[in-house]
């Protein structure tokens, strides 16, 4: 059985399977240079942290704890984006670290200098109105995009689809977002002039973490990462085309950031929580929708490619036709897990997840042309046996709209998110 020629992945060839990360990475000069750059950034940011720790120790601990907690769901979502071909954790950590230590260390003096240049070459009025909207996005988006370039230089083989670029870009953005938020929180403590108080930290957390967190650097970084991912994997296109798309990705990230920081609608659409939420939506939703569509398209193309690899096995013990369908999208994979839980309990749900992961690992091995697949096949068969034992042998999506509990859970999560947003807006004086 061969892959269909009209697959989306075949048309656009966005997936270039890479080799397993190995020690060859150490022989690359870029690896050592990137490590040196990260260490330099760590020293710079440590100096700032020490200054904060001496003046406001409790506030710093609170800010670090709150924003570290905020990073957990973001990390989980970003690392889950590429379920089928997961990125090596050390590279995800490197991307996060670049954003947290290098991009921030570079952006602090760079953005301040560009803001001053706007005042010098334009006027203080121009810098006051548009400094935050133009200077910060210009320096920060370049510094973050360089983080994805660093990942490409260190482990080119691990960036083998546009989605990989999205994941690494989002991780760089997440690292930047968390450290920037902590620095802002400490700035708020210093400005308040009431000593080592946590109240300004909590306000910053509500404002920057909850209200602005969703459409912040993680999103902008993902957009830039998509462009760089395209540049790397689309070897079939002309260099001009690839460079153009990469520039477009970085420009898109910059434009989204400019829109978010811009003084447009600064006075809002009136008073109250509804008006404030409306402004947040108007400024944040366009890039959020854009990246959502981009991720979905990139994910579906990659899923096409990897499920086509699995289909070549033609072995229902490894993967059935219905399971291939379930593997094609994140929502269908989740539906299959919910279905298992409803039919056979929590253990079956966990077993389906393990089976799906094992099938994804097997697909990646096939795509790499690994001659001996026995280890990966055994892994899949082991999870299959467990599912058979639990009375739910196939990880399929039920017919219809899926389990009602999952729909109810999604509705509850959405309602909870809106309630949290509303509470944050009201606490900050919007209500």
């Amino acid at each position: 059985m061969t892959a269909e020629p009209r697959l989306r992945s075949a048309r656009s060839a966005p997936v270039q399977p890479g080799a397993e990360p190995d020690r060859g990475i150490w022989r690359r000069p870029a690896f050592w240079i990137v490590i040196a750059v990260v260490l330099t950034g760590a020293v710079q940011m440590s100096l700032i942290a020490v200054r904060f720790a001496k003046a406001y120790p409790i506030a710093l601990i609170t800010a670090t704890a709150l924003f570290a907690l905020l990073a957990v769901p973001f990390w989980f979502i970003v690392s889950e984006l590429d379920f089928l071909e997961r990125e090596p954790p050390p590279l995800l950590v490197l991307a996060f670290t670049w954003g947290a230590l290098v991009a921030t260390a570079v952006s602090i003096p760079g953005s301040a200098a560009l803001d001053d240049l706007m005042a010098k070459l334009g006027s203080p009025h121009l810098a006051a109105d548009w400094g935050a909207a133009l200077a910060a996005p210009t320096v920060e988006e370049i510094a973050k995009a360089l983080g994805v370039v660093a990942i490409v230089l260190v482990a080119r083989a691990q960036v083998n689809s546009v989605l990989d670029g999205v994941v690494y870009g989002a991780m760089v953005g997440l690292g930047f977002q968390i450290i920037e938020d902590i620095v802002y929180a400490m700035g708020a403590v210093a400005l308040a002039g009431r000593g080592d108080q946590v109240e300004p930290v909590v306000t910053t957390f509500l404002l920057r973490g909850l209200l602005s967190g969703v459409w912040s650097h993680t999103l902008f970084g993902a957009l830039a990462g998509a462009g760089i991912g395209y540049l790397v994997v689309r070897a079939d296109r002309t260099p001009r085309n690839r460079l153009g798309v990469a520039m477009l990705g970085v420009l898109g990230a910059w434009a989204s950031h400019v829109l978010w920081n811009s003084p447009l609608l600064r006075d809002g659409l009136g008073n109250g929580a509804v008006a404030l939420l409306a402004v947040l939506m108007l400024k944040g939703l366009p890039p959020l929708l854009l990246i959502w569509l981009l991720v979905r398209s990139a994910h579906d193309r990659e899923a096409d490619y990897y499920t086509a690899q699995l289909a070549t096995l033609d072995d229902p013990e490894l993967v059935t036709a219905a399971e291939l369908e379930a593997l094609r999208s994140g929502s269908r994979r989740a539906s299959a897990r919910w279905h298992a839980r409803v039919r056979a309990g929590l253990r079956a749900r966990a077993a389906v997840r393990r089976l799906q992961r094992a099938q994804a690992r097997l697909a990646v091995e096939i795509s790499r042309g690994t001659p001996d697949l026995s280890r990966r096949c055994q892994e899949v068969r082991r999870h299959r046996r467990m599912l058979v034992k639990l009375g739910h042998p196939e990880a399929v999506v039920p017919a219809g709209k899926g389990p009602w509990r999952r729909t109810a859970s999604a509705a509850f999560s959405t309602a909870l998110a809106i309630a949290v947003l509303w509470a944050a807006v009201s606490t900050l004086g919007g209500g």
């Binding site: 870029a30 001053d116 240049l117 005042a119 010098k120 810098a127 370039v149 002039g193």
Partner: protein, 191 residues
């Protein structure tokens, strides 16, 4: 083809990494260097009120120049930095809903929060020609001294900080005091 154990791929990898570092250096050092190369002070008319922002104006002291890097006017707030030679005269307007003593305590805390800086002498009550009531005090830091004053007006706090070495301060403080006395809060009415 490899040369001396270094492959072509390693050379291009090195070139890429060096370009990466160059781009970072451009952002971290190039932009600040360009910024420092350009002058930051501008002449400012000293015979009429200067709009700081947030509805507050002040007549700049004679001979002062404005530092555009620390001057940011806005609708509900604003900051202006005047320079009289080496002396800094900073006026900052921010939205505020507390009392005058609390505003003074906040500024004092910020001054003493900087390592080596402490408040000196006793605080005095001051007033501007337009009737704004405020509190004024002094502070000292490593190699320099300073003066601070805080006024509160209709949901705004106006903070004034002056710093320089003792000799320069002695020479310029009378003109700065006269300028501070011209602080006026006159919100522009809509429509």
């Amino acid at each position: 083809m490899g040369m001396g154990g270094v492959t072509r791929r390693q050379r291009s990898n090195l070139l890429g990494a060096v370009s990466l570092v160059a781009a970072l250096a451009g952002l971290a050092f190039g932009l600040p260097a360009l910024n420092h190369a350009l002058p930051s002070d501008r002449p400012v008319p000293t015979d009429r009120p200067y709009k700081i922002g947030g509805g507050v104006t002040v007549v700049p002291p004679p001979g002062s120049r404005i530092d555009v890097t620390e001057t940011r006017p806005a609708d509900d707030s604003g900051t202006v930095l005047f320079r009289l030679g080496p002396v800094r005269y900073l006026v900052s307007v921010q939205p505020y809903d507390g009392t005058l003593p609390a505003a003074v305590a906040r500024l004092r805390q910020r001054i003493t929060g900087t390592s080596g800086y402490q408040v000196t002498g006793t605080e005095l009550t001051v007033a501007t020609a337009s009737g704004l009531a405020g509190i004024q005090g002094g502070y000292s830091g490593p190699g320099r001294g300073g003066r601070y004053a805080v006024f509160v007006a209709d949901g705004r706090t106006i903070e004034v900080t002056v710093c320089g070495d003792d000799l320069d301060l002695g020479r310029t403080l009378p003109a700065i005091d006269a300028s501070t006395g011209t602080l006026r809060y006159a919100p522009e009415r809509a429509g």
